[in-house]
């Protein structure tokens, strides 16, 4: 009989015993949670990106300053991507008796590829989703343009040489926002009318966009194909490039989903470890017998390896299948609540889940199997003989390394992986040490207690190593639960606070220097007390440290683009409250010829602290040394700049001013007053954009909470398996106690004391580790404000006590009812 068949037969035989079914169930459940989290995170990630892409109206945009050749669209269609075009430019829109500068957008059929436009019959009237686009000869105008030009549905508006009929008021256009400079009031028309306007001519400042949407793989493929084909002035943008204020939110959400999946791995590993340890320990006798019957160590090892591999594969398949099912049910149940039409799942998590089952079982059975291989055959004659207690450090190392590998892979973020792996390892060591130390006073305390609690405490001390391992497993489960809750709350709070209630909802740009004082006075009169007006100069970076800047020298497309475009430079005396210095120092009074650069752009363009930068500002050179790098919260909705200089630095250059302020919604009349007083300024309404971002954030946080529930379930599973794992020994112990005359009440008290101490110890270790780790994660990974919350200790201790006692007493309930003799017999076998 081949070893493979023998292994199968041995396993099939084990199947009837029940224990292997429990083992299989625990690992399959752990894998299920892992895959359910992965599946769900995967789908939420895809959906969130698509949801967010509504704000881009596409998944990917190719924009250019001249018409885009047909090859790009053809290639995109060949790859199965949906395609649409837009052409945008600023032009005067002529109403019945006045004209207004408007952002004209001509769109092709299919626009927008993501999200929907909303239209209304009157400015600020009830709106509805739009079907398609304005037809040929028609235009949709936004409320602002309608108000300024007195337009209503049915009115005529002329763009260039083409007269159009207003057929609706455009109330919502997801794509807007982001680049405030582009936000003049909107007029949307059909692409077929574009030529007739006569405005598309050589030299016109027009942006052509090719909008693409489709499968992530096809998009990635297209991106890779397109990048080498980009001509000067063409650039590819995904959401993250185009909308920095959303990038942050999405990145954080992804990292949290990553963390949740990561902890699911840790918990799956802990569950696998506890249950496999016990399983293998129960096979010492079998191993000794097989040795006695002539099995060589190598052959027996192979037999067990084959069995475990089969088991792992089976658990992996079952778990992945279950995970798929669970997330499907969950998605169906939560689809409405989440307001997310989730993207179909990819098969990837299924493959990963199956492999994870195999890897988990093998990695954690290996140390136990090596221990098994050292069981002396003589055990058949002398039951007291077992393998060495310590086991193989190297083998444990392999198990840990595999899990660490899984973690890093799952994290997809080296820093997150490092913090979690390192943190858990440190927590484990600290737990082991703490427990060894704490067991000493516990033993002394035990001597002063009545018999029942004494029994419980002594049981803990007697099984010193067992207790240590058990507390470590329990604390791991609790730690994961605490960590996910804490980080989740931090994230949710931070998102909630992200757009403060007083965030500006209007931007005014193009303010001339002589209008600064009257506009400040006007704002003050309308209740905006602390309006900041920032000077703004357009400048192109021409040299770093005297070396002319060569856009082509940058590998990254974004860097090339940044090296070509003009920046808005400003001059500030104080560091804005939403900026943080990451290197160098903010300037002192009187300091000149220095710049402070946003750290993201500095990294992209390889600008270092101390570098000398030269800008071309309207033909005049502007030079200075980089004296500080700043981190900017782009999603704060305040005015921010990539590069700023000290006050006075921009004197003599042609500057306009920009300000942001908050006016309660519905103050249209006030704004109209402002526009008529200073017709040259452009007012931008960001309320709509903010509403979209708030919606996005609240959906992200709902998704985050669902993922959290999954991890919670596995955490509880780990707690349960850590306690169930010792059921046999406990049965024997209770049998002995009962035989020696302990009443059921005494046994119950002893068990309660034991579980209470176990729970408190685990809770303390988990709380300590969770507060350290959550602080590290908040600080280093999520970049969120974080205060150490004393509640975590309360939650850890109470949670540990409550959960361990509840699960522990449940796990031992049947044992108390069994006749002592039966327990003793079970122990013997």
């Amino acid at each position: 009989m081949s070893d493979f068949r023998l292994a199968l037969r041995l396993m099939a035989r084990e199947w009837q015993t029940g224990e292997i079914r429990i083992l299989l169930a625990v690992i399959a459940l752990a894998v299920a949670s892992l895959t359910a989290v992965s599946f769900f995170a995967d789908r939420v990630r895809i959906s969130l990106t698509q949801e967010a892409n509504v704000l881009l109206a596409a998944d990917l945009v190719l924009s250019a300053d001249r018409p885009i050749g047909p090859t790009f669209a053809a290639e995109a269609r060949r790859r199965g991507l949906a395609v649409a075009h837009t052409t945008t430019f600023l032009s005067m829109a002529q109403g019945r008796d006045q004209a207004r500068l408007a952002g004209i957008k001509a769109a092709s059929a299919g626009y927008p590829l993501r999200g929907r436009l909303r239209i209304a019959d009157a400015p600020y009237g009830a709106d509805r989703p739009a079907e398609g686009l304005p037809g040929p000869g028609q235009a949709w105008v936004d409320a602002r343009l309608a108000g300024e030009l007195g337009l209503r549905p049915g009115s005529r508006v002329t763009v260039g040489a083409r007269a159009l009929t207003v057929s609706a008021i455009l109330s919502h256009e997801g794509e807007r926002g982001g680049n405030f400079m582009a936000l003049a009031p909107r007029l949307l028309m059909n692409e077929s009318d574009l030529a007739a306007t006569g405005l598309v001519q050589e030299g016109s400042r027009i942006t052509w966009r090719l909008l693409l949407a489709g499968e992530p793989a096809a998009l990635t493929g297209f991106r890779a194909w397109a990048e080498p084909h980009l001509a000067r002035g063409q650039k590819l943008e995904g959401l993250r490039d185009a909308r920095p204020e959303l990038r942050d939110t999405l990145d954080k959400a992804e990292r949290y989903l990553g963390l949740a999946a990561l902890l699911a791995v840790v918990l799956a590993a802990a569950a696998a470890q506890t249950i496999l340890r016990r399983y293998v320990a129960r096979h010492f006798d079998q191993f000794a017998l097989l040795r006695c019957f002539g099995g060589s160590r190598k052959r027996l090892f192979r037999l067990y390896l084959l069995q475990f591999a089969g088991l792992g594969l089976l658990a992996g398949l079952l778990g992945s299948g279950l995970g798929l099912l669970v997330q499907q049910v969950l998605t169906t149940l939560l689809g409405d609540t989440l307001h997310l039409s989730l993207a179909p799942p990819s098969w990837w998590p299924f493959v990963i889940g199956t492999l994870a089952g195999l890897v988990l079982v093998l990695a954690f059975s290996l140390p136990a199997m090596l221990r098994l291989a050292e069981v002396p055959a003589l055990r058949v004659l002398r039951r007291d003989l077992g393998p060495p207690r310590t086991g193989h450090l190297a083998a444990h190392g392999i198990g840990l390394a595999v899990v660490a590998g899984l973690l890093f892979w799952q994290a997809g973020d080296a820093r997150l992986g490092l913090i979690v792996v390192g943190g858990l390892a440190a927590a484990g060591l600290a737990a082991a040490l703490l427990i060894r130390i704490l067991l000493i006073p516990l033993a002394i305390l035990a001597d002063r207690l009545p018999p029942a609690p004494r029994l419980g405490l002594l049981a803990l001390r007697r099984r010193g190593w067992e207790t240590t391992v058990q507390v470590m497993a329990l604390s791991l489960g609790l730690l994961a639960l605490l960590l996910l809750t804490l980080v989740r709350d931090d994230l949710l709070n931070a998102w909630h606070d992200k757009i403060p209630a007083d965030a500006p909802n209007r931007f005014a740009i193009n303010i001339q220097p002589d209008q600064v004082a009257p506009i400040r006075a006007w704002l003050l009169a309308h209740g905006v007390a602390d309006a900041q007006l920032y000077p703004m100069v357009r400048g192109r970076l021409t040299a770093i440290n005297g070396r002319p800047l060569d856009p082509k020298a940058y590998e990254e497309e974004r860097a090339r683009h940044l090296a070509e475009r003009e920046f808005n430079l400003s001059a500030l005396a104080e560091l804005p409250s939403d900026n943080k210095i990451t290197a160098g120092q903010w300037w002192q009074n009187g300091e000149a010829d220095v710049f402070s650069v946003e750290d993201g752009i500095a990294k992209t363009l390889a600008i270092r602290l101390g570098d000398a930068l030269t800008f071309d500002a309207g033909g005049l050179p502007l030079t200075g040394r980089v004296s500080s790098l700043r981190k900017v919260e782009w999603d704060s909705f305040r005015v921010n700049f990539f590069v700023v200089a000290p006050p006075g630095a921009l004197d003599g250059l042609q500057a306009s001013y920009i300000t942001a302020f908050r006016l309660p919604t519905g103050h249209g009349g006030v704004l109209a007053e402002m526009v008529s007083a200073w017709p040259n300024i452009t007012l931008i309404d960001v309320d709509a954009v903010m509403t979209e971002i708030r919606t996005l954030m609240s959906r992200v946080s709902q998704a985050v909470q669902v993922v959290f529930l999954f991890s919670l379930a596995v955490g509880l599973l780990v707690l349960a398996s850590a306690l169930y794992a010792r059921r046999d020994e406990r049965a024997r112990e209770i049998g002995v106690w009962r035989t020696l005359g302990a009443s059921r009440k005494t046994v119950r008290i002893a068990l309660a004391v034991e579980f209470a101490v176990l729970g408190l110890l685990s809770g303390a270790v988990a709380a300590g580790a969770a507060s350290t780790l959550s602080w590290l994660l908040a600080e280093r990974v999520f970049e969120l404000p974080h205060a150490i919350d004393p509640v975590i200790w309360l939650a850890g201790l109470a949670g540990g006590l409550g959960l361990v006692m509840a699960v522990g007493l449940m796990a031992t309930r049947g044992l108390l009812d069994a006749p002592p003799l039966q327990a003793l017999r079970a122990g013997e076998q």
Partner: protein, 215 residues
Amino acid sequence: MENLGKSVMVGEDRLDILDGVSFAVNPGETVAVLGSSGSGKSTLLGLIAGLDTPTAGTVRIAGQDLFALDEDGRAALRGRGMGFVFQSFQLLPDLSALDNVMLPLELAGLADARERARAQLARVGLGQRERHRPNQLSGGEQQRVALARAFAVAPSLLLADEPTGNLDGHTGAQVIELMLALNREQGATLIVVTHDPALAGLCGRQLRLEGGRLA
């Protein structure tokens, strides 16, 4: 057995469990090793089976020096020609009687493991109980399953460690009768370690172990 010795260190002190034990057993012979608790009987049996290594002397089976082989070599030798009966039966609790008997046969790679195991179970009178687990069998029945398992591999050497130690007198006698009958049928060499003089009396030769030495 040539000058067989086994000692262990207990703290600073050396404890001799076996000391200079020499004797020979002929093929087909039945030998009982008698001795009180702690006399070194089980240690001797463990050494004869090659389950443990001696600190002095050696064991030769059919001319083969057992301890010139490595652990796996000794395991292979056990697989080829040894059967075991233990005081505590050593049946795997999760396996049925039939599965327990099949285990060594399967490990030896025999294709007809099931048939052989069935035949042996029938021979020990447990043909109707093959699906039963050890905890569903009495002590005597468990030891009969163990006998079926030991004889199923047709061993040339059968080693029995206190086979009646966990049984009452009447059941013990039945088990011994069965063991000796099977042994006669198969013509195996039998070495049985016991403190039961009645059992020893049924063997062809008795050796007495006292304080680790042959008396």
